[in-house]
């Protein structure tokens, strides 16, 4: 063995490429690479298979009033049928708009009044929201709520972190509001939105606003707390540097405090976004915002033999999107963070 490896080591550089590849295939290095790849892929895959098996076996033994609990295969069928429904709905919509286009053309040709033409032109397709549409509604709602919360929490956190007095003043309030469930906020938010948001031509539906604001109320806190901790924990030497340089408050914040606090701010943002996503599903169920939460609720009320499987599809999609959102935040964090050595997971 030792003899062979010595031989390959001396002849590696004058071997033709293909033979070099073969010798690599035979070497320990290749074995190691294969083992590593196998570990990275095979182990999670095996775990997934075991999970699917257990699910499939376990599901058969649970019988509900809506039939047997759905196993993996039923859920897969339902996810395909949900996608088909979406496709056929899209075709219907396209047909509708084509018809409307023709009617508009005809109206113009007939010399109908401008007002009537405009009315025809603005008529929207009113078909039912498909599962895919609902996913996007949910995403839009959670992002609006999250963005709103971040816009409040980061500046507030910076201010509270810089002033010990303000922090002492605000801290009890934060601790009081932090543990409140979204379900407790929702009735209040609903009533306030109905009372305050009164327009004849609303830019956003009320259910959307209610859900988004509830998300905001629940995902303010992780960002706020982490920003405060990050800002108040800036290295004292760096603060002294800014004092020696006589940086003004703005430059000090932008050049020293914010970058220092960025890692913790992002930790807070990631926590907030995953909280927000969880909160959203509950909020949509009650507020009837046409997203994934409403989908689950409607299927539950519907109570057909397919309902449980369709809810299961939604559950898995909710999990997958939550995971995806967190990964996206992680990518942004990696991009923004100056501390490239920090292990982010």
């Amino acid at each position: 063995m030792a003899l062979i490896s010595a031989e390959t080591a001396t002849s590696t550089f004058n071997m033709p490429r293909f033979e070099r590849f073969l010798s690599y295939m035979a070497s320990d290095e290749w074995n190691k690479a294969v083992t590593k790849a196998a570990r990275a892929i095979m182990i999670p895959l095996a775990a997934l298979l075991v999970f699917l098996m257990l699910w499939s076996i376990g599901a058969k033994s649970i019988v509900t009033s809506l039939g047997v609990f759905p196993g993996p295969s039923t859920v897969w069928e339902q996810s395909l049928s949900l996608y088909d429904e979406h496709q056929s709905e899209r075709i219907k919509a396209a047909a509708f708009y084509e018809r409307m286009g023709k009617r508009v053309d005809k109206a113009i040709a007939d010399g109908k009044p401008q007002k009537k033409i405009e009315k025809l032109r603005n008529r929207k397709y009113t078909g039912k929201e498909t599962f895919i549409d609902q996913i996007f509604t949910s995403l839009k709602t959670v992002l609006v709520g999250f963005l709103f919360a971040s816009l409040i929490a980061i500046p507030a956190g910076i201010i509270c972190g810089m002033s010990a007095i303000l922090y002492t003043a605000v801290n009890p309030l934060i601790q009081l509001f932090k543990p409140i469930s979204p379900l407790a906020w929702l009735p209040l938010v609903t009533m306030v939105v109905s009372a305050v948001y009164v327009t004849s031509d609303p830019m956003f539906p009320k259910a959307f606003l209610t859900s988004a604001i509830t998300v905001t109320l629940c995902c303010l806190w992780p960002t706020l707390i982490n920003t405060i901790v990050g800002v108040s924990g800036v290295d004292k030497d760096l603060i002294n540097v800014s004092r020696v340089l006589r940086l003004n408050a703005f430059t000090k914040t932008v050049k020293i405090i914010l970058p220092s606090a960025i890692p913790l701010i992002f930790t807070g943002l990631r926590l907030s976004l995953s909280t927000g996503w969880m909160v959203l599903i509950a909020a949509e169920m009650l507020a009837q915002n046409p997203g994934l939460g409403k989908f689950v609720w409607d299927e539950f009320q519907n109570g057909s033999s397919n309902s449980l499987a369709r809810i299961m599809v939604a559950v898995l999609v909710i999990g997958f999107i939550g995971f995806l959102l967190d990964r996206i935040m992680l990518l942004i964090q990696r991009k923004v963070s100056w501390d490239k050595n920090a292990v982010l997971r």
Partner: protein, 300 residues
């Protein structure tokens, strides 16, 4: 007396949970322009406190600091500080760290191009011109400290304050840094106050060494004038009787202080020993003392 930098009878007392703590008592020092001063003394004797008061980061309880006939009330770039732990902004490159200081100090007096050139010039001065785009995490401890010095130099300070600038470096790197600092000092003739624990460093670099007594209520114990011609060369000086004499003076001062420091500690400890065996206690104390002397002489 009108001097460049006048540290005028400063005392400072900090409130603590167990009553006020007088850290510095009546520290009085005049520094001439272009002078290189070292502060040396045992840990906890308030050297850094003196430096921080001159920097304006702390305010003296009594007395004050006057720099070029203006009283020091707050920190400013005319008293640049080189911190022990480099304190570079880790998210900025070497160039940007220095540029931040340059932009801040010369935003009105220098054009953009001049500021760029001034930044490069100062980094060249500390031999860091080759690593402009590196982040502090990507360079060695000695290099970080060089950048810290470049940042301080770039502010064109009236006084440069260095708080154990080479304390965290290995001895070989420290030697290089001292040589670099001497080179820069010869060229720019800055006024420098440097805190150090290193006797050789103090004698090699300084015009005067200020030896501080032990705290609390620390003050200036002795001042040693180093009359060695500049530029100095560490190899030649190693054999120089004058150099060795100065060195011995400082070592002697610190040694005596160290003895009193440990004596206090041992007497405190022995007071806990039961009173019944007085003679044994006295024996113990003698033994302890001799141990302390041995230990102290082995220190240097």
């Amino acid at each position: 007396m009108n001097s460049y930098l006048d540290i005028d009878h400063i005392s400072i007392t900090f409130p603590t949970d167990s009553g006020p703590l007088n850290v510095l008592n009546n520290v009085d020092l005049n520094v001439a322009k272009g002078e290189f001063i070292s502060l040396i003394g045992h840990s906890g004797c308030g050297k850094s406190t003196v430096l921080n008061i001159v920097a304006g980061l702390l305010n003296a309880t009594e007395g004050g600091v006057v720099l070029e006939e203006k009283e020091v009330t707050e920190p400013g770039p005319d008293r640049a500080v080189v911190f022990q732990h480099h304190s570079l902004l880790p998210w900025l490159s070497v160039y940007d760290n220095v540029r931040l200081a340059v932009d801040q100090v010369f935003k009105r007096t220098k054009s953009k191009k001049e500021r760029h050139e001034w930044t490069l010039h100062n980094l060249d001065l500390v031999h860091m011109g080759h690593a402009l785009d590196r982040k502090p995490d990507e360079i060695s401890g000695g290099m970080k400290q060089r950048v810290g010095i470049a940042r301080a130099l770039a502010m064109e300070p009236k006084v440069m304050l260095m708080d154990e600038p080479f304390g965290a470096l290995d001895s070989l790197t420290r030697t290089h840094m001292q040589d670099s600092l001497m080179e820069i000092q010869a060229e720019l003739n800055n006024t420098v106050i440097m805190i150090t624990h290193d006797v050789d460093e103090a004698v090699l670099l300084s015009d005067r060494i200020i030896m501080m007594t032990n705290g609390p209520s620390a003050t200036i114990g002795e001042i040693l004038n180093i009359d060695l011609p500049k530029p100095r060369n560490r190899l030649e000086l190693a054999e120089d009787p004058a150099y060795n004499h100065y060195r011995a003076e400082v070592v002697k001062f610190l040694h005596e202080r160290h003895q009193t420091l440990t004596k206090d500690e041992s007497s405190e400890k022995s007071s806990v020993v039961s009173l019944s065996s007085k003679s044994r206690q006295a024996d113990d104390e003698n033994q302890k003392k001799s141990e302390v002397v041995k230990k102290a002489s082995g220190e240097y």
